[in-house]
Symmetry: C2
Subunit: 351 residues, 2 copies
DNA sequence: CCAATTTTGAGGTACGTGCCTCATGACCTA
DNA sequence: TAGGTCATGAGGCACGTACCTCAAAATTGG
């Protein structure tokens, strides 16, 4: 049984009384308005700390009679994962509106870093409080993020990080751990030993590289009876991946396992089915989608590692609220958002 | 790019205008106060539907100047999972307070259905809006839940459901799917065939039974080369489970896999280590905890299926907000909370 | 049709915060 | 010391909803 000691949370009035100043001054400090001597501001800060005052976000947004404006910027195109991500965002628009958050989405041509940077630069603080971007590793993007931060827009990265920039949070999975998990599973699936092939989209992509490294490292450490073939790059293209996998299967007739760290799963599935090896080779791939779901159902794919777009979007929205609360305040009382878990799906626990 | 068509959400004022009644009448309808003719109420309901009016929960709680009161009732005792569940609740108390929700927890003696029922009966609608219980299958509990619902307290079940009662939602995993998933993994781990043992706490427990059935069914359907030994009941006791597992390992020297659907993992691990078979038998168990975490790290356990207490608590809180919004309204506009995913953990993706 | 009762309207105050104006006080500089 | 700038206080209105009172209107029963 928990009894709450302070039944009522502290309000700005309490802070004013505790600090021995007027409400107006507290307001000026809280909202970063000018005209407060450092000494006075310090008194207010102390009172805030003493009373553990936390601004009531709902009342705050109510008073401003404006919503917290959140914008997602994601790559467009046919990448099934990004489409799912967009759908996950759309799914959250209504519920978020109920909590006074308006969500907008814009897209940029996939891999077009300049376009992404331009999109970020176009944001004005008066119409956007927080932006969440699926970043590509690029200097222009890096600069755009820093500039947006300076303009007072909170920036977060999603799925793929841009460490070193002024982004407040990264929302996404640990791709090295994902690679190791795939290795751990495949190692147990193929206990008898043999060859395992690794397919990637491009090793220039940070997430693909990290998955590969985690996977290869784990096999080396724990399953010396398994030998790694590849990595091969299929550039996340259906046709190219299909041909690539067909060739690999052909050249390595005793292949026992296959790990695709990238996209292009439709091609992978087609090649496996065509070769007649479906079900005989253990297969792990990434991201739940219509395609991979079917792959699981038909027994072509054994395991899917998934980023859980819904969870990521939820975490992003929650983190945005957190940032909105602690903004402008001297102390950054932002807690890190919960880490995104790697979803592991077999045919039997498909959601 | 999404442009919001109706920039402003509808307010009670809009509803009053649309319905051609006064604000007071709208208020009476919205909050179920008496003194409104059915005809008039109908007009208001129509206006609400037309404008897609949704009460602003934050403003509502602000106006009432009281928080949404949520109570969790969970079993006490040494069950590590329940302790974790309690910790997950505690972790959410502060963040929830920031959204005007006060959370309290009470416990009852594990498996003591009468005590649970009494706890539920003791709740008054004026000090509790919503209660979340880890239910045991019992008629008295069933009745207590129905009575609470009649008193105007929303009830939800957590972890273990009580279907047929008036509980609004069940928050928990699909235990049949969990059992099937375990079977699917163990089947692939032990592709060469052999004997697999199943340990349960008690088959009288709904979740244990369901996991067992899912597991056994899947092995039968997909892995005929594997034969199931058991189920054996260890009553979720450390010592009893340890002795049980030791006996099973002794009597079945060629055992290739082991699935524990219940608790008592400390005993399981001890028995495996003592027998010298740790690492030679593939092991799947349930619930991340200090114990099972160590089991994973040391290679005694291969996979842990987890309920994700944090996710469950979060879902429960979100669902409670949803119920608070739609209460008293004629239409039940409650959407079902997201299903809880079965977490799958190996040594390599421990969170 | 009158009286009793029920239904409805009008308007106020409150919640915690944001934002505005205006007045007053303190401080500095010439 | 006068004139100016800057810091601070006092207070009000707004946001959307809850809840209250009081009066006016509509409906009902006899």
């Amino acid at each position: 049984m928990n009894e709450n000691p302070d039944l009522r949370r502290a309000t700005v009035h309490d802070v004013a009384r505790e600090a021995g100043v007027s409400l107006a001054t507290v307001d000026r400090v809280l909202n970063g308005r000018p005209g407060v001597r450092p000494v006075t501001a310090e008194k207010v800060e102390r009172a805030i700390a003493v009373l553990d005052f936390r601004r009531d976000l709902s009342a705050s947004l109510l008073a401003r009679s404006r919503d917290l404006r959140l914008r997602f910027i994601i790559p467009d195109g046919s990448n099934e994962f990004m489409v799912n991500l967009g759908a996950a965002i759309a799914r959250r628009v209504r519920p978020a509106a109920g909590e006074r958050m308006s969500i907008e989405t814009s897209t940029y041509r996939a891999l077009d870093a300049a376009a992404l940077a331009a999109s970020i630069d176009a944001l004005e603080p008066k119409s956007c409080d927080c932006v969440v971007v699926v970043a590509t590793e690029d200097d222009a993007v890096h600069r755009a993020i820093d500039a947006a931060t300076r303009r007072g827009i909170a920036v977060m990265t999603l799925v793929s990080d841009l460490p070193g920039s002024s982004r407040k949070h990264f929302i996404g999975i640990d791709n090295i751990a994902a690679g190791r998990t795939a290795g751990s599973l495949l190692g147990r699936f193929c206990a008898a030993g043999g060859e395992i092939a690794l397919i990637a989209g491009s090793l220039a992509l940070r997430d693909h590289r990290e998955r590969y490294e985690g996977f290869a490292g784990l096999l080396r450490e724990e399953f010396p009876r398994l030998s790694l073939v590849g990595p091969f790059e299929g550039h996340d293209e259906r046709a190219e991946t299909e041909q690539l996998v067909a060739e690999v299967l052909d050249r390595h007739p005793n292949l026992v396992g296959l790990y695709n760290v990238g996209a292009g799963n439709a091609g992978l599935i087609a090649a496996l089915q065509r070769s007649g090896k479906s079900g005989k080779v253990r297969v792990i791939a990434h991201e739940l989608s219509e395609t991979t779901r079917l792959g699981l159902m038909h027994g072509v794919i054994d395991v899917i590692l998934d980023q859980n777009p819904d969870g990521e979007i939820r975490a992003a929205i929650e983190a945005a609220r957190g940032l909105a609360l602690g903004r402008e305040n001297g102390e950054s009382r932002d807690q890190h958002p919960e880490a995104i878990e790697i979803g592991i799906f077999l045919r039997d626990n498909l959601r």
